[in-house]
């Protein structure tokens, strides 16, 4: 067989296949959380939002669908890691508006799980995010910020690796060209029909565009 050496090579654990989709969901449960949107899960490594690393979402403005995009994953995280087990909080660092508790309760996320940190200065936002990511008591840490030094982003990525939480940085569009150590970078592009996702950096695969990602 011509492919035998190749097959043998691919079986080695050190070799990653770019388009590999995990065989069992259980194996990937700690590396990723399903986004809940099939077209998106299909192109994400490990079939969902990666955990314990930095994700960057770029938005033209608040409210284009960024929370609806994340909500299924947040709910899955909140449900699969009960507060009693110590992983208590979904931390919101300097969000543009109030995450409205009744809406979260309607979506199945208890408002008591939300931890809201409101601070104006960028260094304090970054510090608070690092603390929340490192502490291991948050299932998700969401940060809103515009300009940021990529050394800080590296620190956040290290903190995320230490804590294993879902770490999402929201930034305005136009920052695509800034260097970023984020593992996954996605631009949200609202259209009249729905929300398009432009996945322009993803571990092990090229850029991809998903049309009307939230319709399914």
């Amino acid at each position: 067989m011509i492919n035998a050496p190749l097959d043998a090579l691919l079986k080695r654990a050190a070799v990653w296949r770019a388009r590999s989709v995990p065989a069992g969901a259980a194996a990937s449960v700690d590396r990723a959380v399903p986004s809940g949107w099939p077209t998106l899960d299909a192109i994400l490594p490990d079939g969902g939002w990666p955990l314990g690393t930095l994700i960057e979402l770029l938005l033209p403005q608040a409210g284009v669908g960024e929370l609806r995009l994340l909500l299924p994953a947040l709910r899955t995280l909140a449900e699969s890691r009960p507060a009693e087990a110590g992983r208590r909080w979904l931390a919101w660092i300097a969000p543009p508006h109030l995450p409205y508790p009744p809406a979260f309760a309607q979506s199945g996320i208890r408002p008591e799980r939300l931890l809201l940190v409101t601070t104006g200065s960028a260094p304090e936002r970054l510090w608070a995010t690092e603390q929340a990511l490192r502490s291991g008591s948050c299932v998700a840490v969401l940060l809103w910020l515009d300009a940021v030094d990529d050394r800080w982003l590296r620190r956040l990525k290290l903190a995320a690796e230490a804590g294993g939480a879902l770490a999402v940085l929201f930034r305005p569009v136009g920052r695509e060209r800034d260097a970023s150590p984020a593992t996954l970078r996605v631009a949200l592009e609202p259209t009249a029909e729905g929300l398009d996702l432009w996945v322009f950096k993803s571990r092990g695969r090229g850029p991809a565009r998903i049309r009307d990602a939230l319709s399914s």
């Binding site: 110590g86 009744p102 309760a105 939300l114």
Partner: protein, 538 residues
């Protein structure tokens, strides 16, 4: 073993028993209830006069529900505090304006509304009342060293030793009345050699003083039965017997009373007349740590000051270990040569005794403190020390496990650096007005079980983002716009509420879609053409 079986064995002791352990019970005639048995047994005790060394001051605080639920008396109009009893809503306290309108505690809310149409109504807050009573108990330590809490709304003070200090009973009562008045409280007082008698006096003839045990029985005899606060059926029974005062009740044969009434009737009477001891639980003033340290030299740099701060923390650690207690608040005061001392406050979500945790918070804070002048001396003060075993009981979910400690430590660190007001938890409030349907809370306390019942959730979808305050939308041709024309997707959902507290809203809510594809939650003020943006579905 049940009471009945024990009594059966008491009457016929096992053959193995030699001593007759149960003689009194065996001697009881055919008495139906164990209550009368104990009453009879007591009847044989010798008459004991109350100890002349005790004098009890009862403070009854009828306005406690009002002060607790409306601390500032902010209302300019009539205000009542109501509680629900069965199907009825009854007034439990009211302010002076409501009282002038004829409203009294015990009145039905509907009747109160008839007397004062623009009445402001608030629910009773039992937790706040308990806190207020405790606060007043701390205040009462200014009058005596023995204070006992009698929830819901009474304090008992043993004041025999304080009379000389304050210049006699009358002066003491005047002082208590004046100081409570300054805190917004009305008070009914009674002073008597027994706590029970003082309580009854406060209820039935406020201001009465029975200074000597010799006059106790005579004064009590004139009190009406209602002074006891016994349940209605007991008072009715007394009336049926033709008994109107305590003296008449006391003259009835004891055996008859024991048979007719439950045990507490005789028990209370004995307590009031000083024939039965009634120990009260002493309220403890919380302990606080306080230590001052003179610095060897004037130090202006917080890094140089850190070791001295930590030395004081070590002292605090010893103090807390000895008492098996923790504290939740610390204040470091840096004294300067002149001017006010600089105060650095540290706080934790839960009272804690671990010096290491405090040290970490201190370091975090000291980094960002600038002293206006060098410090000469340093004082460490703590908040109230609370026993550690009880401290975590009020926080379900925070059982003191390691993971919980981590969650608390995160909160403490965030608060130490960003301030108390930068870190919030969120919870639901059962309220129709969207802006009032949530509340920011201290995060550690935001886990009360079952607080977010699905019953209180609105049926229609709510936006994930809510604006801090509604934002006026431009209108063209009667249609609202937001970066272009809006398409109304669903609605209206009519929300009309809050007319009773001045925050009235009359709105029709719609879900609208912008040209860019964002979905907005907008409303029109009813009866106007004004449109507002209130939320974004995000």
């Amino acid at each position: 073993m049940t009471v009945a079986s024990r009594r059966a064995r008491g009457r016929k002791p096992d053959p193995g028993f030699t001593g007759d352990l149960f003689t009194p019970a065996a001697a009881v005639p055919a008495a139906p209830a164990s209550a009368s048995a104990s009453g009879l047994a007591r009847a044989r005790l010798p008459m004991r006069l109350p100890s002349p060394r005790q004098l009890w001051l009862a403070l009854e605080l009828p306005l406690l529900p009002l002060v607790a639920a409306a601390p500032a008396h902010a209302s300019a109009g009539a205000l009542v505090i109501v509680e629900t009893e069965g199907a009825a809503r009854l007034v439990s306290a009211c302010n002076a304006i409501a009282a002038r309108a004829g409203i009294r505690p015990g009145l039905r809310l509907s009747a109160a509304h008839a007397l004062a149409p623009d009445l402001e109504v608030r629910e009773r807050e039992p937790l706040a009342e308990a806190r207020e009573l405790k606060r007043l108990a701390d205040w009462a330590f200014g009058l005596t060293s023995f204070v006992s809490l009698e929830p819901p709304n009474r304090l008992l003070l043993e004041v025999q030793g304080s009379l000389r200090l304050f210049g006699g009973a009358e002066a003491l009562l005047a002082r208590a009345t004046a100081e409570l008045g300054a805190q917004g409280h009305a008070v009914a007082l009674g002073l008597a050699p027994t706590a029970r008698a003082a309580t009854w006096l406060a209820r039935a003839s406020p201001g009465t003083v029975i200074a000597s045990p010799a006059t106790l029985a005579g004064s009590l005899a004139r009190l009406p039965i209602a002074a006891t606060g016994w349940p209605g059926e007991v008072q009715e029974d007394c009336a049926r017997l033709g008994v109107a005062t305590l003296g008449e009740l006391k003259r009835l044969p004891r055996e008859g009373l024991a048979r007719r009434f439950e045990a507490f009737v005789l028990g209370d009477l004995d307590e009031a007349y000083g024939q039965k001891a009634a120990p009260r639980r002493r309220h403890q003033l919380p302990e606080r740590f306080r230590e001052r340290l003179e610095l060897p030299a004037e130090l202006g740099n917080t890094q140089e000051l850190a070791p001295y701060c930590e030395w004081l923390l070590g002292k605090l650690g010893e103090f807390l270990r000895e008492r098996n207690s923790g504290v939740a608040r610390l204040a470091f005061l840096f004294q300067h040569r002149e001017g006010k001392p600089t105060c650095v406050l540290l706080g934790r979500a839960l009272a804690a005794a671990d010096v290491e945790g405090w040290r970490g918070l201190l370091r975090e804070r000291l980094m960002r403190v600038e002293l206006p002048a060098p410090a000469l001396a340093l004082t460490l003060r703590s908040g109230a020390a609370v026993p550690l075993s009880g401290a975590s009981a009020s926080l379900p979910g925070f059982g003191g496990r390691e993971a919980d400690q981590e969650a608390l430590a995160l909160l403490d660190r965030l608060r130490a650096r960003l301030g108390e007001n930068a870190v919030h938890g969120l919870c639901l409030v059962p309220e129709h007005r969207p802006e009032a349907a949530w509340r920011a809370v201290r995060p550690a306390l935001a886990v009360p079980a079952g607080v977010a019942g699905p019953a209180m959730l609105p049926e229609l979808a709510r936006p994930l983002w809510l604006l801090a305050s509604p934002e006026a939308l431009p209108v063209r041709g009667g249609q609202p716009r937001h970066r272009g024309p809006l398409v109304l997707e669903s609605g209206p959902e009519r929300i009309e509420s809050g007319w009773w507290d001045g925050g009235e809203v009359r709105r029709d809510y719609y879900v609208a879609r912008t040209a860019q594809g964002a979905r907005l939650w907008i409303f029109r003020e009813r009866g106007t053409r004004d449109w507002f943006l209130h939320g974004v579905f995000g």
